[in-house]
C-alpha cells in the first residue's frame, strides 16, 4: 500500500487535492463497509455461532458479508474460538495472506483473553491481540450471532471513518473510540 500512501501525501500537498482525496475516501469506505467478506477462523465452539450467523434466521448476506475461506479474497478475519500456541502461527500466516485493507474481529472470550483458559493452561494464547491487530471485540461464551452482526455494523462505522491518507482520519461517527487525527498510523489496537 506504499504507493497509495505516497499518492495520498502528494494529493494532500496539492491545492484542491484534499477534495479528491475525501471523495475517493468516501467511495472506497462506503464500498468497503458494505462488502466486508469474512475469513471464518473458527477453531472452537464460537465457530458454531459464526456458521449459524451466515445461514437462515440470521443471514449475514443481508449486510453484504459472505464467508470466503480463501484468505486472499477476504476483508475481515473473524477469530472465533480458542487459539492455542500451536495454532497461533497458522492464524498469523493466514492473516498475513489477506490483502490490505483488512480488519479483525475477536469473537468470544477465548479470542479476547483466553477466556476460561486464562489460568492454569500452558497452551492457550491469552487473546489474539497478542499477535493480531484486533478491531472489534465481542464478549460472550459464545456470543450469539446477533452480537456478531452488531460487531460487523460497528466495524462498518470504523471503516467509514478510515482514510487513504495515514495522517488523516475523518471525524468519527458513532461512539467508537478511535485515535484522533494527527497521532499517526495507529489502527485499532495494533501496535
Amino acid at each position: 500500500m506504499a504507493g497509495v500512501d505516497d499518492f495520498a501525501q502528494v494529493l494532500e500537498s496539492v491545492p484542491g487535492g484534499g477534495i479528491i482525496l475525501t471523495s475517493v475516501d468516501a467511495v472506497a469506505d462506503w464500498a468497503r463497509g458494505h462488502s466486508l467478506w469474512m475469513m471464518p477462523m473458527g477453531t472452537a465452539c464460537c465457530a458454531m455461532e459464526l456458521i449459524a450467523a451466515s445461514f437462515s434466521r440470521f443471514d449475514f448476506d443481508r449486510h453484504g458479508s459472505i464467508p470466503r475461506p480463501d484468505p486472499r479474497h477476504t476483508d475481515v478475519m473473524v477469530v472465533a474460538g480458542t487459539i492455542t500456541r500451536k495454532m497461533a502461527p497458522a492464524v498469523k500466516l493466514l492473516w498475513e495472506q489477506m490483502p490490505d485493507p483488512k480488519w479483525c474481529i475477536a469473537m468470544g472470550n477465548c479470542a479476547i483473553s483466553g477466556g476460561i483458559f486464562y489460568y492454569d493452561t500452558y497452551s492457550v494464547v491469552r487473546g489474539v491481540d497478542e499477535f493480531l491487530p484486533v478491531d472489534v471485540y465481542i464478549a460472550g461464551c459464545p456470543p450469539r450471532p446477533e452480537a456478531l452482526q452488531d460487531a460487523v455494523l460497528r466495524l462498518r462505522e470504523k471503516v467509514r471513518a478510515d482514510s487513504m491518507s495515514p495522517g488523516r482520519r475523518r471525524a468519527i461517527e458513532g461512539v467508537l473510540p478511535l485515535p484522533t487525527a494527527g497521532d499517526g498510523t495507529a489502527e485499532g489496537g495494533s501496535e
Binding site: 472506497a28 443471514d59 443481508r62 453484504g64 490483502p99 485493507p101
Partner: protein, 315 residues
C-alpha cells in the same frame, strides 16, 4: 471501418459480460438466499440491487498481491487470457433473427473452440502462482474442462446435423418446433457439460471454495480474482444465450424487438436454473466427475447424434 466496428463490438461484448456478471452475482446471492431460507443482500437499494456497486469498488481498492516466487508477468496477465476468449465467444451469438455480431460460417465451431483457450490461461495462472496447491487445482480444472468439451461438442453437433450448417443464424433460421423434443437429451447434455465447463457447482471442483480453497486462483486477490469470477459468469451467460438460440430456437420465435426480449428472457430463466442446480446439488467427487463425463454424458450425446442423424437422413 470494419476494424472500428469490431472494436465497438468488442467493447460491447466486454460490457455485456462484465455487466451481466455484476447483475448475475447479485441474482445468484438472492437465489442462494431463497434456497437456504434467507433473503440475501437487502441493505443497498431495493432488494439489495446495489450490493455489487459496493463489492466491485472494494475489490478494485484491494491490495494486488503477487506472491513471492511467482512468475510476475504471467501471473498478472493470465486472468486476461481467461476472460478474453469468453468475451470473444459472445460474438457469434445470434441476438436477432438472421443477425449476429460475427456472422461466421463456422460460428458454432468458433463458439466451441475459442473458450477452450481459457483453459490455457487457467493452467498458466496456476503454474505462475508458484504454489503447489494452485498447480494441483489448475490441473484439476484443465482435466475437467478438456474432458467436458467432448460431450458438449457432440451435443451441439446434433443440431448442426439437423440444420445442415455451422452458421448460428442459419441454424436459428432453419429451426422447427419439433427439434425441441427430438434434441431434448442433447440440450440436457449441453447444459450439464456447459456447467462443468464453466466450473460451477455441482461441478465446481476447480474452485470448491469451502473444501479445497479455490484451486488455480487461490493466490489471486482483488480485481484479478474478480476477473476470474467475471469469466465464470460470462461463460454462463454465453452458454445460456447460445444454448437457447441453438436448441430452443431463440430469436426465431418472434420478429423484431419482441424476439430479442423473449430470447434474453428464456436465457435468463436458464441461467437461474443453473444457479438453482448449484445451490441444490452437493459437489461431486473428482473421479465421479470424470466417470460421469465419459460413461454417461458422452454416450448419451452420441446416441442423440445418431438419432438426429437418422432423422436428418430420413427427412
Amino acid at each position: 471501418m470494419s476494424l472500428l466496428l469490431g472494436f465497438a463490438y468488442g467493447l460491447a461484448a466486454v460490457g455485456l459480460i462484465a455487466g451481466g456478471a455484476v447483475i448475475g452475482v447479485w441474482w445468484e446471492r438472492k437465489v442462494a438466499g431463497r434456497i437456504q431460507l434467507r433473503l440475501g443482500p437487502q441493505q443497498l437499494g431495493p432488494a439489495g440491487v446495489f450490493q455489487m456497486l459496493a463489492d466491485v469498488p472494494k475489490l478494485l481498492f484491494k491490495e494486488d498481491i503477487v506472491p513471492y516466487g511467482a512468475d510476475r508477468p504471467t501471473f498478472r496477465y493470465a486472468p486476461m487470457l481467461v476472460f478474453a476468449p469468453i468475451a470473444a465467444s459472445v460474438a457469434v451469438v445470434p441476438f436477432w433473427a438472421g443477425w449476429a455480431p460475427l456472422d461466421s460460417v463456422v460460428g458454432v465451431a468458433f463458439f466451441l473452440a475459442v473458450p477452450s483457450v481459457a483453459v490455457l490461461g487457467m493452467l498458466l495462472s496456476a503454474w505462475a502462482s508458484h504454489n503447489t496447491l494452485s498447480t494441483i487445482g489448475g490441473m484439476r480444472a484443465a482435466a475437467q474442462m478438456v474432458s467436458y468439451e467432448v460431450p458438449r461438442t457432440l451435443a451441439v453437433l446434433s443440431v448442426v446435423v439437423l440444420a445442415g450448417s455451422l452458421q448460428p443464424t442459419e441454424i436459428t433460421g432453419a429451426w422447427r418446433w419439433w427439434w425441441v423434443p427430438l434434441t431434448a437429451v442433447g440440450f440436457l447434455v449441453y447444459l450439464i457439460a456447459s456447467v462443468a465447463e464453466m466450473n460451477r457447482g455441482p461441478f465446481d471442483l476447480p474452485e470448491a471454495e469451502s473444501e479445497l480453497v479455490a484451486g488455480y486462483f487461490a493466490d489471486y486477490s482483488g480485481f484479478r480474482w474478480a476477473i476470474f469470477m467475471m469469466a465464470e459468469y460470462g461463460s454462463m451467460i454465453a452458454a445460456a444465450l447460445f444454448g437457447t438460440a441453438l436448441f430452443l430456437g431463440g430469436p426465431a420465435w418472434f420478429a423484431g424487438v419482441g424476439g430479442l426480449i423473449a430470447y434474453v428472457g428464456v436465457a435468463c430463466v436458464i441461467i437461474t436454473a443453473i444457479m438453482w442446480a448449484k445451490w441444490t446439488f452437493p459437489r461431486m467427487r473428482q473421479d465421479h466427475l470424470m466417470t460421469f463425463c465419459w460413461t454417461v454424458l458422452t454416450p448419451l450425446a452420441l446416441v442423440q447424434l445418431l438419432v438426429a442423424g437418422a432423422v436428418a437422413v430420413w427427412l
